[in-house]
């Protein structure tokens, strides 16, 4: 502890990751990753393809089992749990009630055979909502927040554009009021004008709901807009972390300098 702790700010991190490692045989997915994520904080994980950022996100969101390391999470009730010490059902409950995971391809995060309203509503039912009228009202309200017209509530996501599908996936994840959201390239594969609208939306939602988020992206402009803090990965290892504008404006590591200097100016 340094003298800087004179005024205490938030007591405990929401998520505390130590020595997280994922090996595929002898190949390194990610190695020795440490993260502390604080309430209301958005952490951007940047790096090129193969840098290990998606492996890391998959381990954090319990889609993959890490080879080593610990992931401690502070629940809404204040209790701190270790993700992989929980039983499978307990981990599923946690994911459903306190976490959201927005996948890069909305088709992986949506149910394509049911309506938009059902995609949002079934998440509410999974946490115990039973009144049909309330669920539908809440679903329509969330479609509005992600700028989808209420009259599309009965349409299936297959009838939506890519940008609309991604907004629907976000509504499906945020309707349960999660404390922690993971996003994997949330604007990847979308047209630039659609990206801008989505970024604006994510930025507003994250700020207004006060949630903590980890956003994986290879797009440094997206990272600058959304993240408070950045973690730069290469070859499965974290090479630099820091305040977002500091990492982008005064990068310290050779790889970060290369990434930043490789962006085309418009």
């Amino acid at each position: 502890m340094s003298a800087l702790s004179a005024t205490p700010i938030d007591d405990l991190p929401v998520l505390s990751v130590r020595g997280l490692t994922k090996l595929y045989g002898t190949r390194v997915g990610c190695r020795d990753v440490d993260i502390e994520l604080w309430p209301g904080e958005v952490l951007g994980v940047v790096g090129e393809s193969g840098s290990g950022k998606t492996t890391l996100l998959d381990c954090l969101s319990a889609r993959l089992t890490p080879s080593a390391g610990t992931i401690h999470y502070q629940r809404r009730d204040g209790r701190v749990v270790e993700l992989f010490e929980l039983s499978e059902p307990a981990r599923r409950t946690l994911l459903r009630t306190e976490w959201g995971v927005v996948r890069q391809n909305p088709r992986d995060g949506l149910r394509l055979d049911v309506s938009a309203g059902a995609n949002v509503g079934e998440r509410l039912m999974a946490i115990g909502a039973r009144h049909y009228g309330d669920i539908r009202r809440e679903a329509v309200s969330w479609l509005g927040k992600v700028e989808i017209d209420g009259d599309r509530v009965d349409d299936r996501p297959t009838a939506f554009s890519g940008g609309m599908q991604q907004r629907l996936q976000i509504a499906r994840n945020l309707v349960t009021n999660p404390r922690l959201v993971f996003m994997d390239e949330p604007t990847g594969g979308l047209d630039v004008s659609v990206q801008a609208r989505l970024l604006d939306l994510i930025r507003g939602l994250v700020a207004n709901l006060g949630l903590s988020a980890i956003i994986v992206t290879h797009d440094l402009a997206v990272a600058r807009l959304l993240a408070h803090r950045l973690m730069v990965m290469r070859g499965g290892v974290v090479v630099e972390t820091g305040l977002t504008d500091q990492v982008l404006d005064d990068p310290q590591h050779a790889y970060t300098q290369l990434l930043v200097s490789s962006i085309l100016q418009v």
């Binding site: 340094s2 003298a3 800087l4 004179a6 005024t7 700010i9 604080w38 904080e41 801008a196 609208r197 970024l199 604006d200 930025r203 807009l225 408070h228 803090r229 820091g242 305040l243 504008d245 500091q246 404006d249 005064d250 310290q252 590591h253 050779a254 300098q257 290369l258 200097s261």
Partner: protein, 235 residues
């Protein structure tokens, strides 16, 4: 030495250089052994030739640039915090409550209206939407930004219009310490005068100001003291 009661910023033995790893590790030194105090109610203007590191110093104080050695002590809620050693979330807290910064250029965000850009620092402090928008409107009016532009995203605005939005945003909350990097460069005489008034008011309420003003007339009006930076260090 500045009276410790009124001291807001103390830069001591500060050194900054850039290491360009992809250009053979060449080192660009900017300054070293830099000492500077700024007290409440002062407006210290950085002086020195272009390339001497004036903007770099402001960026280091803002936590935007890392430094190689030294301290940047900033009074925050009664105690001195070292920006040079602070963790990111501490720097964000300083920026929210203590440290304002007006850069030369507005960073435009797609789809966000001018008035919302100005209101954002107030809303980050928890001020309600109506009050913050009212204050944002007052500032934009003071800086003579035509009202028809307030609800538009400023991407297509002129340099001077964008700079006034940046200024309104910077002066929207009462920071105890303000960093101003050529905030009047793109402005005409009437708008410069409006900025001079804002700076005078800010100083009068007891804030400390550190700035760069290339325009001599503005500099003479706002500066309570000049701080001359020496030429670029030899490698």
């Amino acid at each position: 030495m500045t009276d410790p009661e009124t001291l807001v910023l103390r830069v001591s033995q500060l050194a900054k250089s850039f290491v360009l790893h992809n250009q053979g590790g060449v080192i660009l030194p900017v300054f070293r052994d830099l000492d500077l105090d700024v007290a409440a109610g002062e407006c210290v203007v950085l002086d020195g030739a272009s390339g001497v590191g004036k903007s770099t110093l402001l960026r280091a104080i803002h936590g935007n640039y890392k430094t190689a050695a030294g301290q940047i002590l900033l009074r925050h809620r009664g105690s001195m915090v070292d920006v040079a050693a602070a963790e990111p979330r501490r720097i964000l807290e300083l920026r929210r409550w203590t440290l304002g910064y007006v850069s030369q250029f507005l960073r435009v965000i797609p789809r966000i209206a001018a008035i919302d850009i100005v209101a954002e620092p107030m809303q980050l402090r928890g001020l309600d939407a109506a009050t913050s928008l009212r204050r944002a409107a007052d500032l934009l009016a003071r800086l003579n930004l035509p009202e028809r532009l307030w609800r538009l995203p400023p991407a297509t605005f002129s340099g001077g219009e964008q700079q006034r939005i940046n200024l309104a945003r910077g002066f929207a909350v009462e920071y105890p310490m303000m960093l101003l990097d050529e905030p009047t460069a793109a402005l005409d005489g009437a708008n410069r005068a409006a900025v001079v008034d804002l700076i005078e008011e800010t100083r009068a309420r007891g804030a400390a100001i550190l700035g760069i003003f290339h325009d001599r007339e503005t500099r003479e009006k706002v500066a309570t003291r000049l701080f001359t930076m020496e030429g670029r260090l030899a490698a």
